[in-house]
Symmetry: C3
Subunit: 399 residues, 3 copies
């Protein structure tokens, strides 16, 4: 960076709440596990936005409690120990909690202990839909929000390129999740980025289809990024119809392999960090991606393909297609692995917050900037670092 | 943790010296190595309470010196280099120290150097008994204490369940030591914990014997924890005869496999962190455990079984028994490996000192609390972190 | 360390600029890569003194630019992407830089972007000589210095033991480089250290030759270390003819294997950290070593053997000799691997700067002390830690 550029460093006051959000935003719904990952009576431990969460399924229903025993702080999920359908016990001294309330209702090592009934483990609201388990992460006293407010909105029925809605009964979701290096903000920003197609120029998915991704989707004006911030779910969207698709750079001799772009492709990004790509990886399907903060340097990358399947046969067909094509060609080596590479590559520049000050944005970063504004103005809260005694006072309304 | 619980955080002033003792307590005897680990002329390097120590055996006797050459600070033990029986040389430039005094008595690279005779390497008192080498770690000018003051006391000769005394001539000690994750305080606290038996419910040692451990040893009153803090060695002890052994929890449907508890089982914990379990792993034997601080996140876990053997035949019998049963069944996969798992599990909660403030103790933790008081009031000093220029002024008498 | 020694700690004010130089000294030439490591059109990324540098060869010439895209800070070299001979493109969004000027001349994702032509990537001066690529690392506005000022000086033509000069046309350089643990200062200090020969006492190179290294080269007076600080290149040198070679220590019973020392051996150390050993590993050859700072805990250890070869046949002979003997016997297991072991061993003592205060220097460390003075008084600048916003004001003239 030259001396001039150093002098021109932006004032970052505006961006501060976003910089503070390195551990995630709170009072939102996040995907926790796929349903098949917690079978009846199983206990699984995960971490979202720095919070350890234990999930247990009992009589079909999934419960979520803080995965840290009140006694000496061990992960309850480390050695799943349940003796009844309505409790979960810590494997160490037998502190036993009511699944529903989190109340300490027994201690195996001290059945008449005065502590019983006096303390409670934190619990979290859970919703399970179409094979995915969602957990509401945030302040214990924050009013529970509808799950529909934190997932991509339903598209109008008469829209020519209509794809499946996540919460519909006839929607089938198939996908994977991976624990990735990199802060959730960088991953989320990369998800909808209209300028990053160069990394996919030679991706097998692109070369194997009848379409090409353009070298870039040039934003022709302020309308190219639509901000939906009046009603929940809140989002920003790229309207591909208003974009100029650049297929060639003559000066440098770079060209896309094909000439046409995918029909009906729409890209939008929702709070708390959900990418929605319609008619992708092929017409009629949709791809959802979540970049769930784990800690300040890792996120869980959820990649889910959605289809509307009205019959058992359609479900079976979609599953065969997914297993034999899309998982590898779209979600893994054929396309998204390149995105993972790119996200990890930005981590170093931002990990000590230098990047926010030294980055040099260009015109297509309008999308990234609008996303940051959406987080700053509409996230329901900024997650404090774990173990921090000073809460970050970041309620968006007060900013 | 709920908002209420956060508000009820304990004042920790009382506990502060214990919290400061993350690198160990000083001016005490710690086991360093088994005798067979330092053969004649061998040099071995270890670390106790952050202090690097080199041990060398010459003419049968073991010497201990600070394992950091005065010149450029390398570990002398990294490339053992001894040219005479009464010296140890640094392998790099040949700084040569007198084994007894630590005085710099030669420099191979500069035989007439003015530095010779002017500086000394720190030495440590050493005692070797029954196959174990002990080193006195602490302030250079602190008066040497008797080893007998830092190991479990001799039991009265006429005690029905009498087991071997560590320092007796006819005592045989067989065991192992392991470098484990976790601070020495958490390991020590877990050692004598009367409430942790749930983790051993299905341990092979327990299922293979005629006895069971209870689900817990309920403390029936203040007498259940005996504090011996008048004379050295200082300790706390559980008297199993005064405890209520809980064998079942009907509400949760948990039960011990057998109905009787081990005869003569007594558990006591001595400064500087030595667990003494009488009549364990079986009647007539005793198990000693040390949790020697290595650094602030690791300890060396010593597990030693003691027997009284009056003849060579008895020694041989005990060795056969140990090799073919107790090492695996008692010290490793049959029992103590579960303790190692449990200790490591608490490390995260306490590693930034959050646990001391947020832990929720219950009635059986009276034992842990008395142990902490013993350390706070009677440890001969708190070890400063290595490289710290500000000494922690923690002489117990002044507290 | 005894209480007395602690009290006698040296005042370190004098040494402070040297202690500050943990990331290297700046405005000097450093070797970056061997020529064969960057073939035509290849891009390679390295790090010198904390600065990421991308090297690209185009039409035979090597260019060096800061290896951090202005946009989002990724390493440009992570996925080499070049479309024309005079540019280098970032693989992520296609930010394209002019190789010569570093100017942003195109963005593939946004060909008409207003940012084009407005910003520049930092470039570095490059020189390539005899198979080595050198880069000038330092302040962007610092006047470029001649490479000859930063490499060992030419020896007089009529000197009996004359060896090859690095920059001569008929000089052939063969060698290796390795990424090693340890700060560059400790590595450099060890390079010319006249007191460290004990570690080479049993080295295969020494035992296989007709000469021995002495146990030490005792400095007989102030003349033994010659300081050349008037003209560039600046250096300190040991004159082996004025040294007393110690071949035996009778008290300890240590003796060198042979009786004679190598003829014409001269050791000198140049800014910015280049060791020059004449007539080594055998008469007529010379060994160069650089200890190039990578970060504050690692350096790149360059080991190069130089020969004068007037004909293609001589070049071939030297190459056969190097491949079949010197690389293994001199640079690797036969000799220098012991130096790497020794350097790594000092790292722990100095990594938190404790060593500078607690080290105990002896008479032979006069060489080390003169080297430190040379750095403090004549380095062209002290490198700031990366990402630090406060520059270390360490221009040597002002000290």
């Amino acid at each position: 960076m030259s001396a001039d550029q150093v002098k021109n460093r932006k004032p970052l006051k505006f961006l501060q709440p976003y910089i503070d959000a390195r551990w995630g935003i709170k009072n939102h719904w996040y995907p926790a596990l796929f349903s098949h990952e917690v079978k009846e009576d199983e206990v699984k431990g995960i971490q979202i936005a720095g919070e350890p969460v234990a999930l247990r399924r009992a009589d079909g229903r999934v419960y979520a409690l803080r995965d840290e025993c009140l006694h000496r702080g061990v992960r309850i999920s480390a050695r799943p120990t349940c003796f009844t359908k309505d409790t979960i016990s810590c494997w160490y001294h037998g502190f036993t909690y009511d699944l529903e309330s989190g109340d300490l209702c027994d201690i195996i090592a001290s059945q008449e202990d005065p502590l019983i009934g006096k303390v409670s483990l934190r619990t979290y609201p859970v919703e399970e839909v179409n094979g995915m388990i969602f957990v509401f992460i945030g302040d214990e006293d924050y009013p529970r929000q509808p799950l529909a407010h934190d997932v991509p909105a339903r598209v109008a029925d008469d829209y020519e390129y209509r794809t499946a809605y996540l919460l519909d009964e006839d929607t089938v979701l198939l996908g994977i999740r991976r624990h990735c290096v990199g802060n959730w903000r960088l991953a989320t920003e990369s998800g909808g980025d209209p300028g990053h197609f160069l990394i996919h120029r030679l991706s097998p998915l692109v070369l194997s289809q009848s379409f090409s991704l353009p070298l870039s989707a040039r934003l022709t004006g302020p309308d190219s990024v639509i901000v939906n911030d009046k009603e929940w779910p809140k989002s920003i969207a790229l309207d591909y119809d208003t974009l100029e698709h650049v297929m060639e750079n003559k000066r440098l001799g770079v060209k896309t392999y094909g000439d046409t772009v995918p029909a009906g492709l729409n890209v939008s990004l929702y709070l708390p960090g959900v990418l929605y790509v319609e008619n992708w990886p092929t017409r009629g399907l949709a791809q959802y991606e979540w970049y769930v903060p784990a800690d300040d340097g890792h996120h869980v990358y959820w990649q889910v393909i959605a289809a509307t399947c009205k019959t058992a046969e359609e479900r079976q067909d979609f599953k065969v297609q997914y297993d034999n094509c899309w998982e590898e060609l779209a979600l893994k080596s054929g396309f998204n692995d390149d995105d993972i590479f790119a996200r990890e590559a930005t981590e170093h520049f931002y990990e000590d917050d230098r990047g926010w000050e030294e980055e040099t944005l260009f015109s297509l970063d309008q999308f990234v900037v609008e996303w940051r504004k959406l987080v700053i103005n509409h996230a329901r809260g900024i997650q404090s670092p774990p173990n921090s005694h000073d809460q970050i006072s970041a309620h968006p309304d007060g900013m």
